[in-house]
């Protein structure tokens, strides 16, 4: 076993000793997680799945575990999305009651910090937890299973509709010591329930922590979930997310995976379409600058006939940023009449930026409709000229065109607070006169007219 793995296991042993007795199943899961992590070690680039992503910056580090959720309320308020919501906040993985406000939840809806859910009825959590994103999912999921303590449980009773979004806010703190957190999110959406979940990762400038997130989302028959993952963590933060969605008949899962921040980011998003009529829609946008590394691996398993998936990821890479997109679609034997489309378009804003894109189709049925495509290019020099020739300065012209490139994904975002965050990051800090919000309002005023 190498030193890196040992260091993490030592931290775990310390934590376990400090924590005291736990229910048997939890202790057993931890053990299984640790054993699996020990067996696999950190992934290295000789493994196909990790070919383009070097995790040594995580592995070589000695992260502590945070045990306070102190955060200046004013600083938190500045980072919080300005949106009316049911909100839970975590600081370096620790639940922060003072920064949380669930408001009034509709009957039949539970949004609870995981620690509290375990305290109240651990057995009810033990069943689903780890069933989807288990220790086999990846070394990071195994590591999470060994360490997990906090996170969120979202339960929707059948037929409940949550009007306001549920926001899970994860704040990363700049401190003397770099810390790690292993949050788990478990969503159980009952039949025909409907909700919007916003997962927001953000933090203090200079923060350099490691978030190792595991998510399990279970959609019962006809459930509809829109899942925004807005990742705008500080530029030295590391972020690994392992997300698995299970979809029953006629359920609809829509993901907006919006990655703007983080120094080292890896998302694994998997959806299992297990019932007829189930539909998964993956929208993705990643924007890298400086030396950011953003890796998105997605997988859709068409396990049942008459299922649909569509995926549209757009990448914008500037400076020396590196983007990875790997989109896999598997159509199981005899899953007939499925439809799947996938596209990935990338924009390179600098000569030294890099993107690696790979669609993978595995089809074991014959009556299917599958399409995919990938493109990578630069800003159209003719278009930059055409805008400058109307008096628009080069920086703004490039900002407008970059935003236009992201437009296909962003025009589907109907939460203004989210769209604005993304637009400001992607278009850059534009001078007041090019205030995009102002432009959008003007355009809207005309269309209402």
């Amino acid at each position: 076993m190498n030193d890196d793995v040992q260091r993490f296991l030592d931290r775990l042993a310390e934590r376990n000793a400090a924590r005291g007795a736990e229910p048997t199943w939890i202790a057993a899961r931890r053990q299984a997680g640790a054993a699996r992590f020990e067996a696999l070690g950190f992934p290295h680039r000789r493994i196909e799945e990790w070919k383009y992503t070097d995790v040594r910056d995580i592995a070589a580090n000695d992260f502590a575990l945070a045990d306070s959720a102190e955060f200046s309320p004013a600083a938190a308020a500045a980072l919080t999305l300005p949106i009316e919501a049911h909100r839970l906040t975590f600081v370096d993985g620790v639940f922060a009651p003072a920064l949380s406000d669930l408001g009034e939840l509709p009957a039949g809806v539970q949004v609870v910090p995981l620690s509290k859910a375990l305290e109240e009825n651990h057995e009810a959590v033990g069943g689903p937890l780890g069933r989807l994103t288990g220790v086999e999912f990846s070394p990071f999921a195994a590591l999470n299973t060994a360490f997990f303590e906090e996170g969120a449980l979202v339960r929707l009773a059948p037929r409940t509709v949550v009007e306001k979004p549920i926001v899970l806010q994860f704040l990363s703190r700049a401190g003397e010591r770099e810390v790690m957190s292993h949050p788990r999110i478990l969503v159980e959406a009952g039949g025909r329930s409907q909700a919007t979940l916003i997962e927001h990762h953000v933090g203090e400038e200079g923060a350099a922590n490691f978030t190792n997130l595991v998510e399990e989302i279970i959609l019962d028959r006809g459930a509809i979930l829109t899942h925004y993952k807005l990742q705008e963590a500080p530029l030295k933060d590391r972020h690994v997310a392992s997300i698995q969605v299970e979809q029953a008949r006629d359920s609809r899962y829509t993901s907006f995976n919006l990655n703007l921040g983080g120094g080292l980011v890896r998302n694994d998003l998997v959806s299992d379409l297990n019932g007829e009529g189930a539909e998964a829609t993956f929208h993705g946008l990643f924007y890298g600058q400086g030396r950011q590394h953003v890796d998105n691996h997605t997988l859709v398993n068409h396990n049942a006939p008459h299922t649909r998936s569509s995926e549209n990821y757009k990448g914008i890479l500037d400076d020396r940023a590196h983007g990875v997109f790997n989109g896999r679609v598997v159509v199981k034997r005899d899953s007939q009449k499925i439809e799947s489309e996938q596209s990935n378009a990338n924009l390179l804003l600098s000569d030294r930026a890099e993107v690696d894109t790979k669609p993978e189709l595995e089809i074991y049925a014959d009556d299917v409709k599958c399409a995919h495509g990938a493109t990578t290019g630069q800003l159209d020099a003719e278009a930059v000229y055409a805008l400058r020739a109307r008096g628009i300065d080069e920086q703004t012209a490039r900002g407008l065109l970059t935003l236009a490139f992201a437009g296909e994904v962003m025009e589907l975002v109907d939460l203004d607070a989210v769209a604005e965050r993304v637009e400001l990051t992607v278009a850059g800090k534009l001078p007041e006169r090019f205030n995009l919000a102002g432009l959008v309002e003007t355009a809207a005023a005309f269309s209402e007219d």
Binding site: D380, A386, L387, A389, G391, T396, G407, R433, F446
Partner: protein, 250 residues
């Protein structure tokens, strides 16, 4: 207002303009005519600042400023605007964004603040009505999926909103049917003003029936070989360019 002196321009090593002289005063409409390949489009592109053109000799001054020292956007803000022969499609950027951003850039250069929204809406509505364009154009991406005629109208619309001091129109008549040409010509004529110059670049005399120029110049092989009034354009219609080509070759 515009003075071009002894302008030599090369594109990819071959000389296109070979000592061109041109002076345009305020209130004047000039037309540059000439056979294909004479360098007509090169002239307006160089004035507007397009990449890929190397000025090896000569000067361009606009209201006393050295145009060749100015950035592309500075030229536009100073009032030098080029209407393109082939307007480029800009997917994802709405016309309304372009118009507002461009107008505010110009206003800032003039020391004015951002245009108030109601004033902007009033201005735009008036101009699109004049160009017989539907308001839905504003919400569409710049030139994306536009017909040839729509693209040219859109160029004129931008001129009407931005009110340049010198409007240069490169083959604004190409690809237009007669009705579209009348609308475009009306737009250009409405730009005629005592304090504004207009430079039309065209291959055909047809456009000049609708926009009557004060001066007509014939560009052959990188030089202006003949200048005259509107009568010269009609003469070219009758006689073609050959009689002038021979003169140039001599």
């Amino acid at each position: 207002m515009l003075e071009v002196k002894d302008l030599h321009v090369t594109v990819e090593g071959s000389e296109i303009l070979k000592g061109l002289n041109l002076t345009i005063g305020a209130g004047e409409v000039h037309a540059i005519m000439g056979p294909n390949g004479a360098g007509k489009s090169t002239l307006s592109a160089v004035i507007a600042g397009k990449d890929g053109y190397e000025v090896t000799q000569g000067t361009i001054t606009f209201e006393g400023q050295d145009v060749l020292e100015m950035e592309i956007e500075e030229r536009a803000r100073a009032g030098l605007l080029l209407g393109f022969q082939y307007p480029v499609e800009i997917p994802g950027v709405k016309n309304i964004y372009l118009l507002k951003a461009a107008l505010n850039a110009k206003r800032e250069a003039e020391g004015l603040g951002e245009i108030p929204a109601p004033e902007f809406m009033k201005l735009i509505k008036e101009k699109i009505a004049f160009m017989k364009m539907d308001a839905s154009f504003l919400q569409r991406a710049v030139n994306e999926g536009f017909s040839g005629g729509e693209k040219k109208r859109n160029e004129i619309l931008q001129m009407l909103v931005l009110q340049p001091k010198l409007a240069m129109l490169d083959e604004i008549d190409s690809g237009l049917d007669i009705d579209a040409m009348k609308v475009v010509a009306e737009g250009v004529n409405s730009l005629r003003a005592e304090d504004r110059g207009i430079l039309l670049v065209t291959h055909y005399q047809r456009l000049l029936d609708y926009i009557v120029p004060d001066r007509v110049h014939v560009l052959v092989d990188g030089r202006i070989v003949k200048s005259g009034d509107a009568e010269l354009a009609r003469e070219l219609e009758d006689r073609g360019y050959d009689w002038l080509l021979e003169g140039s070759a001599a």
